[in-house]
Subunit: 204 residues, 2 copies
Amino acid sequence: MRYARIPDQTIRRLPLYLRALFLMAEQGQTEVSSKDLSEHVGVHAWQVRKDFSFFGEFGRPGVGYQVSWLTDQIKTILRLDSEKKAVLVGVGNLGAAVLSFSGFNKYNLTIIAAFDADVNKIGQTVGGVEIRDVACLDSVGELNATLAVITVPGQVAQAVVDPLVNVGIRGILNFTSCRLIVPDQIRVTNIDIGMDLASLPYYI
Amino acid sequence: MRYARIPDQTIRRLPLYLRALFLMAEQGQTEVSSKDLSEHVGVHAWQVRKDFSFFGEFGRPGVGYQVSWLTDQIKTILRLDSEKKAVLVGVGNLGAAVLSFSGFNKYNLTIIAAFDADVNKIGQTVGGVEIRDVACLDSVGELNATLAVITVPGQVAQAVVDPLVNVGIRGILNFTSCRLIVPDQIRVTNIDIGMDLASLPYYI
DNA sequence: GAAAGTTTGTGAATGTGAACACAAGTGCAA
DNA sequence: TTGCACTTGTGTTCACATTCACAAACTTTC
């Protein structure tokens, strides 16, 4: 596999390709053209080919790409070839929604633990994951989790992130509207529902 | 106000500036420098100034920007100066989370109705919004709503979007992982939690 | 096996946004 | 008033991403 510098935007599209490939595999499709794939994802065919070209030659001219092999390649690129463990902090409506989302296993992602401050929730199970006391966040270290999903109220976001960073969490999906302060090598992806809704009126 | 072509990325940052400004106003701050603002939002100071420069001259050299006036300007640019009505379809965990989110009013956004297919939920109230029968989606027309939030299971997403488009919805916040097919003039913003989590391992 | 029809891979052109550097405006203190 | 510290606005440069165009590789058909 070639290792040129990969555009960020390309990486962002790879999971979309992957999802389309899963769908095609389910339908028994074994080969797919860039045109096919592009229509599923909503980009242009040459965009698909250009994206793949950063990694090497995946397809055969006149034929297309082999679904299973392409799937494996993208999984490898995204480091989804081995299981990645995640923890979730804050089991409100939003946290429960994420826990109940069953689509993660395909991507080798598993939420292995959830934490909340509410004593009434501790011990209960949501989406097959038992809720633990947020005071025991340190125990995450023993679980070998590398990812964290933060769905707590904004005021306590930084307070739960600090211990997570200390016990080895490397990537954070932040649903609060607060900017998290973390060391440089920690990756944070912010999802801010309010901001997304607020920018809609401009375009209509 | 000047009307050059505004970069998309600039528009995406404006709501972030707005939120920071709300925070500052609450703390009684009346003036703010680009440096100040940039630290709250997590961008560089020149990025803030450059963004504003697309619209005209908002600040005074040596002093900074007047919080209240800047707030109004950004609201106007984003078309948040008049109330925008939104409906939500699909009151599962995720839908309930959005309904319970109280931060929208600051942006003049109001969720005026929610819809679900579950007869047990219809008639109940979540976040101050009554849940109606999804079969009555047509009634949205009378409500003068322009925005919609889609938090239904992916399989029925397109089925609820089609009638919404017919009754005048112009902007859609789509939480399903399905690509929605809508007329060109309808704006769709996709939020895909699974994809965001799946791209994290690459960076860690 | 030759011709026609597909589809890939990629160099080059175009477009867009980030980053920089600095002139010019403002407030303040002496 | 003068000098200094501070801040804005923006022309320019640079980096990255999209778009195009087309040669090369492959399949199918006759």
